[in-house]
Symmetry: C2
Subunit: 481 residues, 2 copies
């Protein structure tokens, strides 16, 4: 057994003991990432990258089905271009990486490595959008971006991260608003149907908007430890960027007018969300839709005649059935293999030994609840489909239960403090007057910030939880990653 | 018709008049790229990016079939890491972009934006390779890299470009050499079977090796204008990088030894190669395997009852058959559409008007030779398959003929000069003694450099074309992009 292999079966820190350590143990021991000598920049290893490839494949399909096209913008933004939209540059300039030399030559206009690409898309729109017939443009790109964060954590907050950024430009404000909401809906659907992760859809308060946006919408998920994680955002820009970048088009009445824009994105942070939503003290637990290996076949007494042949036959059958299956015929012990694939979160384990073969059956164990069952080999494909569906449904249900158990309605600041003290972190639902001062005060006094103003509103009371003045909306509050 | 649309049907410069202008006309008018305010950094537009996505999909499948896994390394390399392998840093340092500030903070160790990622992979190998059981690692990544070139041209030489870089590490030199050759073979197969582009496989002379490599292999293609284009490279590193980065593993005899490495890559330059191999004076001509749209349906007299319905029916049938098909039912004229999709290089045009429908047929026109035929609608799918195969075969044959016509055997320097003067640029086959001084002199006197030492050798004579001393090998010489 190699040194690398041996590490795998070492136990990880339990999440009750130290949640942060549990998390980093998993990212390392499930071989999702490895650190590099540049702080905040990580190697995404094959197993981690394969999760991202599955996320990409599914989302990219959803984007293309809704008429979006992929493009690729440069990674560099000249400082002069970044500065064109006032709020945008204020938001991003403090945290960008600056290229000042090309070879030995000092650059006149220094270049930042894109922290996000609105300015590049705007420059491009100005070149290609002239008439109402050129609209809409529904673009997306899969790239990495850089934000020079002070504190970093793998997947959750890194200096370079992978993401997709959608950028669209429309003739009317209505169309752009519709796009913003549509893409938030696609993100929510993806999280629920592919990541088995329930999310709250809502609007960010003004203090939490994207730099340069008129409105920012987000999906928020609740992690195992009761902290909130923003899993995706969608921004409506109005015509602010168009004005700053002088993008105009001739409408049907032959008048020059400003178009309206949006942008939206999700990142490799989703992998962090998967870990903290579904993982347990034996390691990662992956939702079947994005698991690099959906089912692992582990032969028992594989040296006995016929065992490996039969295992290979099952592998071929499942491959032909469209399952991402792996047969581990290495000479590690079955017990070691059980632990390894539990650590790696493979949704379904299939065991097959001489006795099983005699009875024309195999053993199936679902990762999330370790439920064991005997399955007739004639029913193999059907059983795998059912088990994978059961894993997805079980993961979703457990995540939803965790969120519901940890969501509290509070009418006063004291109630908030009390709940957090007694129950631990979670989502706090509380009314808000819409005043930024109250938002700040809630955070200062209780420690929870506004996460979003959910689309699904409830009238908990008619008073702001902070100042007691008439409430405008119910807000989800929480501590956030 | 929008301004953007109008531009489309303007004629392009003919390649006989000005080949370079013909090329840039195509990249702009076929909407492959758009320039940005950063020299050498371009926007790859949806139509151009879709070609790249097809290239990626096919190659990625070939890599995975041969056991390679995708990973993602950071984009930044600390200067201290880049400097670890002497030849490597000498080759790349003069042309890298340097990040010197993160936010407002000056970096102690400045970071270069990766020009290639050997150093990052080596740092990673040192962390994860300990035993012979950890080998081989067969990795690849799809990313962009930056090289601060002085003169730039879209796709052919840009400061940022997209590529894949394969990096592998093996227990033995033999295995690594085999990998290097295998990947060159995969590139050649891909170019021939998917890009309809014949290539010469060979080894680079020492003066043309990758910085840090023991041997560099390349595939070379000949463009319309007789210039050579290096379409892909594969490098064997021996254990040079392992020694520089202190990567060692314990072998089966429990001894600490150095592993052997390779790297190999192709870039968006392949799109430039497609243009210059197959394009004509009406625009782009795309090989069917990578064409974003393989067949375009253009209704004639589409306002007449039943025409659009029938066209949509054909579209659905071809989609179901797995063809990338587009129906253009816009209100532009058929003539305008013909010109547009010729410019965009769509391999097959299907015309359908009321008279065709009466006779239960359609018209098919193949882009590369404008051959027109009438096809019974009952035979639609079969005919499309055959036509697309005919386009591929026709393109390959024409490219091969062009290369053969423009490949000349020369025994003396005078013959080289003479051929180039009378026949124009092309591949020169000539014998070489292996001495770098002769290689330099051939270039200085005749203008052609060594392209590669082809695997398929011919004994044109036993004397070096330059010095007359005993020849070691036949070399392909040419002017290169």
């Amino acid at each position: 057994m190699s040194k690398d292999n041996k590490k795998m079966v070492d136990a990880i820190t339990s999440m009750e003991e130290d949640f942060a350590k549990w998390y980093t143990d998993i990212v390392k021991k499930a071989e999702l990432i490895e650190y590099t000598s540049v702080k905040g920049c990580m190697v995404i290893r094959p197993y981690g990258y394969a999760i991202w490839e599955n996320i990409q494949r599914i989302l990219d399909g959803m984007f293309k089905e809704t008429g979006h096209e992929n493009v690729c913008m440069p990674m560099f933004i000249p400082e002069s271009l970044l500065q064109k939209e006032k709020d945008h540059v204020e938001g991003f300039a403090p945290e960008v990486a600056w290229v000042t030399y090309g070879g030995n030559e000092k650059l006149e206009d220094r270049l930042c490595v894109r922290p996000t690409s609105e300015t590049l898309f705007c420059e491009h729109y100005a070149n290609i959008v002239h008439s109402y017939r050129d609209l809409p443009k529904l673009y997306n790109q899969w790239v990495s971006v850089v934000r020079w964060e002070k504190t970093t954590r793998p997947f959750l907050r890194s200096r370079e991260f992978l993401w997709q950024e959608g950028h669209t430009i429309h003739a009317t404000a209505e169309e752009a608003v519709e796009e913003t909401e549509k893409m938030l809906g696609i993100y929510a659907k993806f999280c629920e149907e592919s990541l088995a992760m329930p999310v709250v859809k809502g609007r960010k308060t003004d203090s939490d908007k994207f730099a340069g946006a008129e409105a920012t919408y987000a999906i928020e998920a609740l992690m195992h430890d009761g902290k909130a994680l923003q899993a995706g955002t969608s921004h409506y820009f109005g015509d602010g960027f168009a004005k700053a970048f002088d993008i105009m088009y001739t409408d049907k009445e032959n008048k020059k007018v400003y178009p309206h824009q949006t942008s939206w994105g999700v990142t490799t942070r989703l992998i962090g969300a998967i870990i903290m939503t579904h993982g347990d003290n034996n390691g990662l637990v992956l939702p079947p839709a994005v698991a690099p290996v959906q089912a692992v076949i582990i032969p028992v007494q594989q040296f006995k005649e016929g065992v490996l042949d039969k295992a290979r036959e099952l592998e071929e059958r499942l491959k032909a059935h469209g399952i991402r299956v792996k047969l581990d015929d290495s000479d590690n012990s079955p017990g070691w293999k059980f632990a390894e694939y539990e650590m790696k979160g493979v949704p379904l384990r299939i065991e097959l030994g001489p006795k099983d073969i005699e009875q024309d059956q195999c053993v199936m164990v679902t990762r999330h609840n370790r439920e064991k069952s005997f399955v007739s080999l004639a029913e193999l494909e059907k059983a795998v489909d059912e088990k994978l569906k059961a894993v997805h449904d079980g993961l979703y249900r457990a995540a939803l239960e965790n969120r519901e158990k940890r969501t509290y309605s509070c009418l006063t600041m004291d109630e908030i403090t009390d709940v957090l003290e007694k129950k631990g972190d979670g989502f706090i639902k509380a009314m808000w007057c819409g005043d930024e001062a109250c938002e700040d005060k809630v955070k200062e006094v209780t420690g929870v910030g506004s996460r979003c103003i959910p689309f699904e509103q409830e009238q908990l009371s008619d008073k702001c939880v902070c100042c007691g003045k008439p409430a405008k909306a119910m807000v989800y509050w929480g501590k956030a990653y």
